[in-house]
Symmetry: C2
DNA sequence: AAAGAAACCGAAAAGCTTTTCTGAAAGCTA
DNA sequence: TAGCTTTCAGAAAAGCTTTTCGGTTTCTTT
């Protein structure tokens, strides 16, 4: 069982294996591999060659134990299934990967108990920080101020203003959308949106109404809240056309709703965008590009939210803690469903 | 700066803090907390209380360093964006989370260089194993046989038969779909599917043709390969109806294609499912439920693929290495777009 | 050639937990 | 009461890397 002379005896090679093969001490091997200056060039080469031959990788556990920093962070999502978490997660993973930080992924499935469990497990693994990704933009309970590592909340802000949260700016999103429609010459704009229990729905509506008001205009009818589904989009569009056949633009609270609206417009022989412009939110490619015509949509720049959260966490780990809610801009992606009135 | 007497002086509490507070040695504290039997009940209580007060969590790095196992695995995806990775990832995360294993998430973005980089980083962190999640079912290059930890490939099998791969059974999926349509009394079945460069498309078509052949039937026309988009679904449906107006069922290679087909059928006043039954693959809720009528679809059970991969990796870590390609069954989810011929 | 400086290498400790082994105390029997 | 067993607590080592500090060698300078 014991194979004392076998170089590949058990598990990965350690620094002491490398040192032995190169005929130097542990300390020298370490310094050689880490570019420290206390070692002759020829010796360094020998050590590097030995490390190469054993395909040595320094044990990050030992390193972390010593340094007090592990180079890992926890990414705590509340629902992986939802499509909003993914781009944020991608942005964060991207930003961290560039900085040699590894990411522990935990999905709490929207359960507070499970979330607590994951937090404890992550702290046991001595993560250097946490990013908490929400599934909607409504504020969520804080993990608390007593955590031994910095925390950044992404998408869903923390209820505690002492925490740092990074969220997309839904009010501005509503403004931008209406500005685009106004720039297209539309003046009779209706708004069909989703569940009024969602802050995102209310904020986008508020932004839209503010932009219209700035232009001396108002929505055609009140904002129509309902559900985040194509079915609601179809139903609401039918009601809207019955009551306000004069509309020349429909701003929809999501791409799903917008698809429903476009379908009904097609069925009723309204031309899109010539007669009625339609736009949505989220810029969800599967929907925007499959629609006829393709949908103009507001992209919430979620990847950027993830990246910004990662960078903020970097900063906090380095000691530069901030707090409050930081909002990030979004952008209008123009496709065929909006165009200037001719 | 130095606060020698402050119990919460720097970073999380260590076992030696607990031992000091409880007035025992490190060894005793460890044994007390780990349920070892060499400790008097009263002493154990004292230690537990101390640990509680300091909210002590054992440092998993030190533990891993000692044990040789870290209780972490790497989850290597090739594209997070793609919707197939996510359910697999959820299943795996779920299975691991239950076993106190933490998951490192890495997204290679389809880049082999980046993948290599991530593998090296993960090995440096001494993961106990790796799961490689592909974005399509075509075989992919192996990470190699020389890795010091077990690897399981999920969704995309490894090209090396010595590796273990867990994939959904696309041939059976095609069979099941046709069996369902046959059970509905359909006999003139056409197949519109996606990019023929995808193994999944070819296998599903093969399964479908095999099931028809078993029933003494054949497809209406050849399988129509194209793209994985609604647009292709619409175009292909139009061509199909022009050439074969007698079809009573269309099996579509994806839910996206199926939606396109349903739309064209509606526009041409064919009733779904009365005149023509339609079904898709993937069971992608956003599409299936928004369609009119809701789409019957084959669910590839991807979460189960993830869970099975996690369990296989557990087994391999425990020493029970397997190899080869293991296929998992899928299931038909019936909705409004298919029904028995009346 | 001798002394001082510079360059280089190695021993040892720290970081935290678990386990084994040793030692001590308490309880029991003869 | 002496000797034994049982029970419990502590010391020390292992696991791997990095860093500090001390020691040795080589080179330069006078």
């Amino acid at each position: 069982m014991a194979q004392a002379t076998d170089p590949s005896r058990s598990g990965p090679a350690t620094l002491s294996d490398v040192a032995r093969l190169a005929g130097v001490s542990l300390a020298t091997a370490s310094k050689a591999l880490n570019g420290r200056s206390q070692v002759r060039a020829e010796t360094r080469q020998r050590v590097i060659a030995a490390a190469e031959r054993l395909s040595f990788r320094p044990n990050q556990l030992a390193r972390g134990l010593l340094a007090g920093r592990t180079g890992t962070v926890g990414l705590l999502t509340s629902d992986l299934e939802g499509r909003f978490s993914i781009p944020i997660l991608m942005g964060a993973e991207d930003a961290f990967g560039a900085g040699e930080v590894a990411v522990f992924l935990c999905d709490a499935r929207g359960d507070a108990i499970r979330e607590q469990h994951h937090v404890r497990a992550l702290l046991g693994r001595r993560v250097d920080g946490l990013i908490v990704v929400g599934s909607r933009t409504d504020p969520r309970p804080s993990l608390g101020r007593e955590l031994p590592v910095p925390v950044v909340y992404a998408y869903a802000p923390s209820e505690d203003p002492a925490d740092l949260s990074i969220v997309p700016d839904n009010v501005e999103a509503g403004r931008l959308a209406v500005d685009h429609l106004l720039a297209c010459g539309r003046t009779r704009i209706a708004h069909i949106t989703g569940d009024p229990g969602y802050l995102a729905a209310r904020e986008r509506a508020a932004g839209a109404e503010a932009a219209l008001s700035d232009a001396g205009l108002a929505l055609v009818g009140a904002p129509r809240f309902g559900m985040w589904s194509e079915g609601w989009g179809r139903a609401a569009a039918a009601m809207l056309l019955d009551k306000h056949p004069e509309v020349d633009a429909v701003l929809c609270g999501s791409d799903q709703i917008a698809r429903g609206v476009v379908e009904v417009l097609r069925e009723r022989d309204h031309r899109v965008p010539e007669d009625v412009a339609v736009m949505g939110f989220d810029n969800w490619q599967v929907l925007t590009s499959a629609s006829r015509p393709p949908l103009t949509s507001v992209d919430m720049n979620l990847e950027q939210v993830g990246r910004a959260a990662a960078q903020a966490l970097f900063g906090a780990i380095a000691g530069a803690r901030r707090s409050g809610v930081q909002t990030l801009s979004c952008r209008v992606v123009v496709r065929g469903s909006t165009a200037a009135l001719s």
